[in-house]
Symmetry: C2
Subunit: 440 residues, 2 copies
């Protein structure tokens, strides 16, 4: 006999057993249903692309983490490490075929050879959504509203903290620190992790003590923002940035939309939100679960003014965001949400005698036609149904139908596996009614 | 300005624009709903695995086609080229966590560096489903029934042609050609492509003229099977293989199940079906669309008695199959089936004045809550709504709601973009009713 190959998966990669996969599916299917209800449409792109396209200007962390190799034809290729770069390439390539404003979502796997000691995975699913080809405040607002609506639909109360990078930059110019904008925004982005003292030192190193103090004041360090309304904070940062501007007006317009749509309570204005990426130019935001603020933002994003500049001379602006699915799943688990069933079936048909399997399937078909998913057991009970009860329980099923032993058309018995009780002598309609009440 | 990177995809790889992606989703979602109604559950496995696990005994075509490389840690890794090998590895690794009989499906991408001149893709989606840990005829039957039910649910009438490899082998032993079984089954598998004359020559070369003639007779070459019922063919091949056997009884049992479930008309017994793979040991089958038999089998499979032998000393048997999604999509397109919409939305709210966007979203939320997907346009019409009508039509939308210009709570106008007519003065309820009638 040949020696066995040890079955194992690569470090940082995961198998999904049915209960884990069903939990993931439940989450993504609910998210997709919400996106679709807003008229967003899905796209897909290849897992493998030319390496120079994915790396763009290249260099840095990305290059070290990417799965890159030569294919059998000698091409320099790589697995996508996010969905943003492929989207930019996609839009540049298909701009003539796309109807703008284009509202798209993309839920797909990406691969990064990250250090798994930080608890990160090397294969994980991203969930991106964007509106491109529209500069309007209405588009900013729709992305914010869709985040709120999607997460509320998942039973998660959220607070979305927004800011405007353009307004932050206007303030930096106003205090004479405009040249250090990129570095300052990155330093502020690390505030939550680094703490105020460390951030203050970093800012002083970048822009001098006086500017550092003004920046800390602007972002509301030391509790300067605590208890302030959106409007009070907007007035304050508008004044600090030299008075009304298109950026402060954009924030005001968004605030008006929030009131008109009756969703103002879910949003706050937080001048310390900057997002690290250079990419963003307008509104930026982070989303926190009110029950679990400590896990960090589960949905972040913002407005950018040049999506596909590496691949096209047309400037395409947009606003978009990404939901952290792994973080969401962990949150739902720690909140005890989300069904952990190992089956989609609501009921099973016991296999009393295997020779009746044709009738059992005909019976199951009637349940399925009535909208009740129904599993049929394939192995003869041999006079002892207990084994089938145990299997059904392991699969997370609550109910099992036991057909008659001699005549498959005899009345049915419905066993409740939890309370271990049988209801005997049921017609199909009565059994269906009982299952429907339980399934509904 | 930096030079642009040309946006392009690798040969054999595809972008999916919304209309193509929505068509794919519609298909896979309907297939999944059917699988779930039978109590089948999804799993997932990594795209990337150790190369020695994927290649198993290795060699041959697979090794030439596989995307294989060294990762940053020096590991010999490869992209999966099918879902069967990862499933075998998965079952060997998790056999202690799985509840048997295990009914699983897996819909996911696989990668093969095939010659694209044959019109094949290098990245494509497979859709596999199996019942493992059960030897029963009831399991064979359930797979056959699920194929029939799933494809009928897609509006496709099918004929499923089945055979039993064990019975074929029994026949070969009976005529003294048992040693050449693997080669003979492969030669017969090529019958449809190679033709009878060529197949006859191949068989004569393998087993001699006399055996070749008996084999051609067994498989019904020269129309020997035409007009015969399942029962007549079963009687004939039972006799040719030396009389009743467990294999002929299995086919008889399946036939009984078909009658008991009232599905007998969808199946025929075709002794020329062998499937090329060594892997199969029991029932084998191919599925043909009655409207498009010429495109070949769109769903094939069979029973095997040792799924995970490369990775585990436990013999795990099962029965399974795979739907060819690309072939199905092509078939549905050529039959004019399957909606080709570029949107999930049923209606759009026009943006008469951008400053009313908060109200528009509140209006859209009422449609969404009523189950009507509703898109909101984000760009101010500037007094001319024609541009928005054009965009809505391009997205495949039939209806657009036009709110009042001055007061967002004014009565609504519903425009039918196809017949270019407006219905004015509608309340929300009236507009909803009109959209619901059209959407339902």
């Amino acid at each position: 006999m040949a020696s066995l190959i040890e079955p194992k998966v690569l470090k940082g990669f995961r198998d999904f057993l049915p209960s884990a996969e069903i939990a993931r599916r439940n989450l993504t299917e609910q998210i997709e249903a919400s996106f679709r209800s807003f008229g967003f449409v899905p796209i897909d792109t290849p897992a493998l692309e030319y390496a120079d396209i994915l790396l763009g200007k290249g260099g840095g962390e990305t290059e070290k983490q990417i799965y890159r190799f030569r294919d059998n034809g000698g091409r320099d290729v790589a697995l996508r490490f996010d969905l943003t770069v492929p989207f930019a390439r996609f839009v540049a390539l298909h701009q003539g075929e796309i109807t703008f404003p284009f509202k798209r979502y993309h839920i797909a796997k990406v691969w990064r050879g990250e250090n798994t000691q930080r608890g990160r995975y090397r294969e994980f699913t991203q969930c991106d959504f964007d509106i491109i080809g529209s500069d309007s405040a209405a588009s900013d607002f729709e992305i914010l509203l869709m985040i709120r609506s999607t997460l509320l639909g998942l039973g998660m109360d959220v607070r979305i903290r927004i800011n405007h990078r353009g307004l932050f930059n206007r303030f930096l110019s106003h205090i004479g620190a405009g040249e250090k904008s990129v570095e300052v925004l990155r330093a502020v982005d690390k505030l939550a992790r680094a703490g105020e003292e460390e951030t203050g030192k970093n800012l002083a190193g970048l822009a001098g003590d006086s500017c550092a103090q003004k920046i800390l004041d602007f972002i509301g360090a030391g509790g300067g923002n605590a208890g302030k309304t959106f409007e009070e904070t907007l007035d304050r940062i508008t004044a600090l940035s030299g008075g009304p501007s298109p950026e402060s007006e954009r924030l005001g317009m968004l605030r008006r939309f929030m009131f008109d749509a009756g969703v103002e309570d879910s949003f706050s204005l937080d001048p310390s939100i900057t997002r690290g990426l250079d990419y963003y130019t307008g509104v930026v935001f982070e989303t926190f679960l009110t029950e679990l603020p400590g896990i960090g933002s589960i949905c972040s994003g913002g407005r950018y003014d040049d999506l596909a500049g590496l691949y096209s001379k047309n400037r395409i602006s947009g606003v978009g965001s990404s939901i952290g699915l792994d973080r969401m799943l962990a949150a739902m688990e720690s909140l005890g949400r989300g069904p952990a069933a190992a089956s989609y079936a609501a009921v099973a048909i016991a296999c009393v005698k295997q020779e009746h399997s044709g009738f059992y399937q005909a019976l199951a078909a009637k349940f399925r036609q009535a909208g009740i998913p129904c599993e049929v057991f394939p192995e003869d009970a041999g006079g002892n149904l207990v084994k089938q009860f145990v299997i059904a329980e392991k699969k997370g099923l609550r109910r099992i139908i036991i057909p008659g032993e001699n005549h498959p058309d005899d009345p049915l018995t419905l066993r409740d596996l939890k309370i271990r009780q049988n209801r005997e002598g049921l017609s199909f309609s009565q059994a269906l009614e009982a299952c429907r009440a339980a399934h509904g």
